[in-house]
Symmetry: C2
């Protein structure tokens, strides 16, 4: 146990971004840490999850959690290791999922607010920030609970090379569907079809998405796992079948937009084709996480689901790195490596 508390480094929301995140919207500061109360832990954060929804939290639009207040530490999911413990349940050295502890190098948490990471042999810690973390749960519940792909059906996933999309598409494949991914650039598309087993991929930066969907989805589309919104969403909806389902996971193409984000340009189709659209947020499914992990963990251990983590070193780089989510300049699940993993 340390004699005195370390200095904490943290990203503070300085002002709300207007459009793209700009220099000065976030500020990197040093802050003292207070002493622990009984039952509390000092956690040295190891990995910080960067997610498209971070941009929503920075705004004051109507959203599913309270916005991050200006002046507060930016919200984010972390995994860390207990460095000081005033809890019998979590000895020093325990690796824990610290929840939404924020963009900071240390956090103080009550023992009731953290969970130990169930380390699995051969599974790196980054898996618990991606395929076996909120990312994998998002993909599983959206695809399985809402999309319900049936064998032989056609599933389209947008942002398909992203952290959630790449897993969602593989889940649909494992359920017996034909899966077409939409991604930006030939490398990502090649990854989908060559490495992940997608039946087809559409490079939206270099192809007409509608024409490509016509070619790759000759029987129409039964599930649209929607991650991007806007024109790509419209192109997919235009080809959705009777009784098709659209888990609405995100609309990343719109998160930097100013003003309202319009719905489908042809809403009559939702009626005529009896389409189901369901917005969902992974936090609602946390109580049911076991259902998803019961399928995901064996798939991961058996190599039936592949995933990538893209870790950027240094908390000081978080404000710059988060922008990669919106330019696509990353590869799989985007993380910040704040500090080293404990020795195995």
């Amino acid at each position: 146990m340390r004699d005195e508390m370390p200095v904490n480094r943290a990203w503070i929301l300085k002002k709300r971004p207007v459009g793209d995140i700009a220099p000065g919207d976030l500020e990197f500061v040093e802050r003292p840490l207070r002493d622990l109360e009984p039952g509390e832990l000092l956690i040295r954060n190891i990995y910080l999850s960067l997610d498209p929804t971070n941009r929503i939290w920075m705004s004051d639009q109507d959203q599913y959690l309270p916005p991050v207040e200006v002046g507060d530490v930016m919200r984010g999911g972390t995994i860390g290791v207990v460095e000081v413990s005033r809890s019998d349940r979590f000895p020093v050295g325990t690796v824990v999922n610290a929840g939404l502890s924020g963009w900071q190098s240390y956090s103080i948490a009550h023992e009731g607010g953290v969970n130990p990471v169930p380390m699995l042999p051969g599974v790196p810690l980054t898996a618990f920030m991606s395929v076996l973390g909120a990312t994998g749960l998002t993909a599983w519940f959206g695809m399985v609970d809402i999309g319900k792909p049936q064998p032989g059906e056609t599933v389209v996933v947008s942002a398909a090379a992203g952290a959630v999309g790449s897993i969602a598409g593989q889940i649909a494949k494992l359920k017996g569907a034909r899966v077409i991914g939409i991604a930006g650039g030939p490398e990502k598309c090649a990854w989908l079809t060559r490495d992940l087993g997608f039946d087809g991929a559409i490079d939206y930066k270099n192809e007409d998405v509608g024409a490509a969907l016509d070619r790759l989805c000759p029987n129409g589309i039964d599930v649209n796992f929607e991650n991007v919104g806007g024109a790509i969403m419209d192109a997919v909806i235009a080809r959705m079948n009777n009784f098709s389902r659209m888990p609405l996971c995100g609309m990343i193409s719109t998160y930097n937009a100013i003003g309202d984000v319009p719905g489908p340009s042809d809403f009559a189709r939702v009626l005529m084709r009896r389409i189901l659209i369901k917005g969902f947020i992974v936090i609602d499914y946390i109580p049911r996480a076991g259902e998803a992990l019961a399928e995901l963990a064996p798939w991961v251990l058996g190599g039936q689901i592949k995933w990538k983590a893209h870790a950027v070193d240094g908390l000081e780089n978080a404000a710059e790195a988060v922008k990669r989510l919106f330019t696509g300049d990353h590869d799989g699940k985007l993380l910040i490596r704040i500090s080293p993993e404990p020795a195995a």
Copy 2:
């Protein structure tokens, strides 16, 4: 049995309307009827159902049934009486639901394509064109199967004084919800609150819908039974709660529009509030009609659901009368009385 077949009068789709239905889009003609084959019936149509979806069928937009072809008899649901029978199952005088037999005074149907109307003591024949027909099934399945109102929840119904809306709202009341209707004009609003037991009504022609919703739905909206689309839909969605449901029954405000009909102006809310939107068409639920009628029939017989039929006399008036659906100049379920009911 007649010696010779009568002359049939019918409305033909002459050309597809552009915008509102105009003179010359439909043409009233006389046509000879062919002789019956074995197993066929000659049905004298008594009531013709006029429905907002008629306007969709007249168009060649993407829709849930094939469009009516130019030159064909206009499609419509009818109830009639068997005048000539070459079927052992349907003697002359049987009152039958003839399905979508069309805007015509007579129709020829195979015995496999019609169903006897299950006449109930004290229930007029028009009930089977409304609360106990497709209208009631639409209201029941949309509200019960998709909307799933829970006791104490707040339900909003648009086009609430219409044939479907007025029944949908009463179903939600019977399920224990608070129900607010949106309708056009003080008389319709008074009917909703005074006669049907709605908890509140908003006259969209004379009130700011958003402000009225704020006043009448202080706990937000849990179910939006959507019949109209456009600005009224947006005002309701803006107040929908977490995990709320939106059975998308119709978008009558848009049926005369030219070009695509846009979706919700604030689609981000569907994500943030985890809203479920489900387009539905009653024909999909016909195999499950018994579930709905098991609740609806006792409610109708017991006076727990009230309903109105607005019958316009004379098939020759159908093309003019159907426009009333879009101006609101009708009162409950709009019908054409083509010929007299059989004497009781």
